[in-house]
Symmetry: C2
Amino acid sequence: MQIADFETPVLLVDLDRLERNLSAAAEYARSHEIALTPHIKTHKSVEIARRQIAEGAAGLTCAKLGEAELMADAGFTDLLLAYPLVGEPKLKRLTALARRATVTVALDSIEVAAGIAEAAERDGVTVGILAEVDTGTRRCGLPPGPELVSLCRFLMGRKGLEYRGLMTYQGHLQGTAEGRAPLLADEADRLSDLYALLEREGIPFPIVSAGSTPNQWEMHRLPGITHVRHGTYVFNDRNTLVMEACAPEECALAVAVTVVSTSIPGQIVIDGGSKTFSYDRLALGGEGFGLCVENPSLVLSIMNEEHGYVDVSQSERRYRVGDRLHFIPNHVCTCVNLHDTFAVHRDGQVEGVWAVDARGRVQ
Amino acid sequence: MQIADFETPVLLVDLDRLERNLSAAAEYARSHEIALTPHIKTHKSVEIARRQIAEGAAGLTCAKLGEAELMADAGFTDLLLAYPLVGEPKLKRLTALARRATVTVALDSIEVAAGIAEAAERDGVTVGILAEVDTGTRRCGLPPGPELVSLCRFLMGRKGLEYRGLMTYQGHLQGTAEGRAPLLADEADRLSDLYALLEREGIPFPIVSAGSTPNQWEMHRLPGITHVRHGTYVFNDRNTLVMEACAPEECALAVAVTVVSTSIPGQIVIDGGSKTFSYDRLALGGEGFGLCVENPSLVLSIMNEEHGYVDVSQSERRYRVGDRLHFIPNHVCTCVNLHDTFAVHRDGQVEGVWAVDARGRVQ
């Protein structure tokens, strides 16, 4: 069976490229003695998680509890939940999960930590904790300072919890390769200051987990990083391409679509819109919702739910109804989450269909 | 059970509001002798489709074949597929569908029509066809002119097809209520010119199907409309609110979320991001990804996949981890498509959990 036999729109995974991406990240981590705990939010696939572990990953990272439960069901036993868990229903699920897997939760407040500690003590389990530190993304995480010190002290002293170290996120180190270099140097300074503060206060940090696909090859330049948990690297996407963080031949996922209308001059309509690609714009700005593999001069300029409007006015080639095209999505993680399966191929020969097992697990 | 017992993030449907929205649209259609064939892409729910038919809908509209197959499985027998179908696998599925339901397909090219005609003749079925006309959205549809006339002639003469009339889409009539009024007048002129052209050419148009939630109460002002197929009206959303096309108490769907972090001053983080809300921006422009029901001064200003960054700097109220909030999404159709279920309630008392049956049916 050939990929051209699949109906569109459909996600196509180039298995050779995926395998190279998995191996390269594993090899980088090994050579720098950094543990890789890849984030499964990108692929949400048991099969890809299995390959990541086979390549030497030290565990898996999940955003939501439902993702972690699914990965535990599949037999994975070392899980970082990089998300604060709040409310009794989630705490019950967390302690049940902690009975069958080694679970570490990242959080940034004593309120969240106290809730987990109470539930853990009551249910007779221990939950590992990373204190989340904000080094500039301004999302979750405490800035280095007295509140962070208090949180770490609380974590170190509280029954039911096992303080394991720090989690940081490098979402703010964005830009082209040249633009990211000075940002990385600043980040290194911030981390050194953070460590100095904690050392002065007598607070250990055996784990320092960092996350950033665009900077995945530079993480050893940040001091003290023991774990990395990037996710997007398995497939890459138009964002990582534009950031010069991957080469075109490292883009392992494309969306196959079909031209369904050519009624408007200078435009074609494809059978994928925002329910196929997701509405994510380029993180660095710029037009369009995907990169056409066959013809980069095409601009997927507008989307409705099931219609993609492609501006073909800069193309010499004329397109007809029924033509098939492939687009690399702007943001592969939200794109994958719209689909139930990937078609997996080598050089166009289909090797299988894999499930997006944890699709939609927002709770 | 109360809605507060549900874990977040979760979609909540206010059943009283939903019922009022369904009844009002049905009553409008009845009083103006226009057939309502609501678009199920918004809710993708068999239960809501059943209620639409019970209120007098003349049939259902679907975007993708997979949606139509699911609705046929549920027993609905009059289906408009408002989408050009291309390629042998889809044509086979279409003729199978036409054996168990009355199917009408909208298309804008002789290529697509010829493909359907061949498959229909081969498989011994008849497929109804609407010729799609572009009156200004510039998506699919032929502009009024000789190519449209040729298409209609082809449809009228071809075995396997039954030409049933025209489909138009009013996606270009956007703006606030005041801004839409002159656009509607222009659209009426364009439709009159279209009809005059077809009459001169001796081409009948027993059906003229129009689509537009923002203008749902004005469709009788457009000449010759026999069918309307809006979808968003069942729930409405922040887009329809901003367009002054619905009142706040006509917004029947909200996303319940929980505050999980308050680590950054002036900001809270909620447990829903682009995998909960979708990344759709407001159609008319403007900031934010949802309207906070409890406090409209909050701005859901940035989203990552599972994190919503809410700017609370304009609010007097201080928020704490664990607080629960409700947001009306910018675009309800893409938001619903990210979820497997709705929790349905009256005044906060849960009446049931309904499936988003056709979620993800992009093929």
